[in-house]
Symmetry: C2
Subunit: 329 residues, 2 copies
């Protein structure tokens, strides 16, 4: 299998991308890794060594974090992200991974790779940590701000197939993000979606409140892009604020500093557990090829996690399974 | 001034309510406190003492936490919550406070107290903690699941007046909960609301992302009831999960337990700071009288905080100010 990696996208590109690819190339000799980006930036990082399963696809342009997504994808035809997308489209890669501009990656999915037939609006996903370490795949997280009930149903179906094929879960539990657990709760969108989800051939476990998401009550959580974004960023902000206050308190006296020093490894573990970067590599579901998003702050370890997800998605035959499901097979 | 307290609503009723009233009655002799509820449950808690500014208004029924709100309010005409609402309606109390069934309290606001003329949908508010300890008034948190842009504008205006009159903030900063800070971000609702808020005679500071809410970037945050509920519960769930993992980690060895014991007062401080119960007492904005909601788990201290809010709201002349604003004075 062949995986194209956007070597220029993300806060630590291209160093983290190259490091992750070298480590992956050694671990998985059956896979060909194509670093897409400026050859003159990538080659020095390879330090002149030959790696039989690592190649470079030269792409001169870079889509920046603050570029307007659609315009950037249209104008920067020779950017690393667009070229990687084109490789997937043309079958020269089985998956692409990018930690660059999220909006642009969605545009690459829609405009370069193209939608899966029958899918109205692809969904942006993320794996959130759960207390039981299984994680929950949440979608949509911002691709589709004003979702329709039928689109939430498509997210549920696609998420369910993904968790089964990639993570090996039998009958993944699908939840609907809502303001209460009772069936009649919610806004017009969730009330209508609830009825569709109940009838669908998935393992629907009902409404899930935002406060229970981290408890691991479902494997797939569906929502419109607006609510999903609020959920994700509220979690991020709260965890960050908690650790900020904690840090202030624990350095407020010498006694505290000493005790905190003893606990440092424990604090690091807690932080890691709450850090959704640990679950790096979330697919754009509904495009006709594997487009995997890495977090913008991905380091080499996070990129490798994303590569592992991409490999599992290729091996699981996710795209074929999605196509089959949509055709009703 | 006279404040009616629903003595029967909340997890710790009536003990917490009575304790808070006794302490408040001693601190604020200018205020009359009316405990509304079953006299036979309240009287023993007063221990036979006479308090010149504490009265009991007997109400035989109780609206339970799991009662269907509208039906309960219609059928239980002699419940403590409905009676307290009627006292506000009839001018026998200047404010009412309840820590009972939130949905029922909204129904009391709408059906018993009544809407302010010109307000389409009252909003449910909550004060969330911020790192700078000022707190942010968020609305709506669930009264209005499918809000219209004009309703978000009304929330902004009402929230702004409340913060000014009750908390003494000059030109309260009003933010719009959204998925990005740029003006063009969001769903149809927030895009339309942004345009209205920009033109309104308030101090609009633009879009606010969920991750920045706790940083204290605004004094009033407006959103539809669905998103507000997701925000609030995501914060609650994340804080709770973080402390859960922390507790597990810090008791995982004797060394950790010893160090954690030293830090116990600090942990308690952090927890308190993240606890939105500390800011108890949030108004139902848009009804024709002061209806203040206490958190269901309110203890006596939290109830007293709510009483303090009610006093400030009465003294600030919030309802008259809201009426004046709506009439365009």
């Amino acid at each position: 299998m062949r995986i194209a990696i956007d070597a220029m996208g993300g806060d630590h590109a291209p160093a983290a991308q190259v490091e992750a690819v070298l480590s992956s190339a050694a671990e998985w000799p059956d896979t060909e890794f194509i670093l897409v980006g400026r050859a003159e930036a990538i080659e020095p990082l390879l330090a002149g060594k030959r790696h039989p399963n690592v190649a470079i696809e030269d792409a001169k342009e870079i889509i920046e974090a603050d570029d307007e997504p659609v315009r950037a994808v249209r104008r920067k035809a020779d950017s690393s992200m667009v070229v990687a997308g084109r490789m997937v489209k043309e079958g020269r890669a089985d998956a692409m991974i990018s930690a660059g501009n999220t909006g642009a990656l969605m545009a690459v999915g829609l405009l370069v790779v193209g939608r899966l037939k029958g899918i109205e609006r692809p969904g942006l996903t993320s794996m959130l940590p759960t207390l039981d370490d299984v994680g929950v795949l949440v979608l949509d997280l911002g691709a589709n701000m004003d979702a329709k009930p039928e689109q939430l149903l498509q997210y549920a179906t696609m998420g369910s197939i993904y968790r089964e094929k990639v993570n090996g879960l039998k009958k993944p539990r699908v939840g609907l993000l809502n303001v209460g657990t009772e069936a009649a709760k919610g806004n017009e969108l969730t009330k209508a979606a609830f009825e569709l989800l109940e009838k669908a051939p998935i393992h629907f476990v009902g409404n899930v409140e935002a406060r229970d998401v981290l408890e691991g009550v479902c494997d797939v959580l569906v929502c419109d892009g607006f609510s999903g974004n609020i959920l994700l960023k509220a979690m991020e902000g709260t965890a960050s604020a908690t650790f900020k206050i904690l840090r202030e308190e624990l350095t407020s006296s010498w006694k505290n500093k000493l005790a905190a020093a003893v606990l440092k490894p424990s604090f690091r573990k807690v932080r890691t557990k709450m850090d959704y970067n640990e679950y790096n590599g979330a697919p754009l579901l509904g495009v006709n090829g594997l487009v995997i998003k890495g977090h913008g702050s991905s380091n080499a370890r996070a990129m490798k996690t994303a590569i592992r997800q991409a490999r599992a998605a290729i091996q699981g035959g996710v795209i074929a399974a999605l196509e089959g499901e949509i055709r009703g097979e």
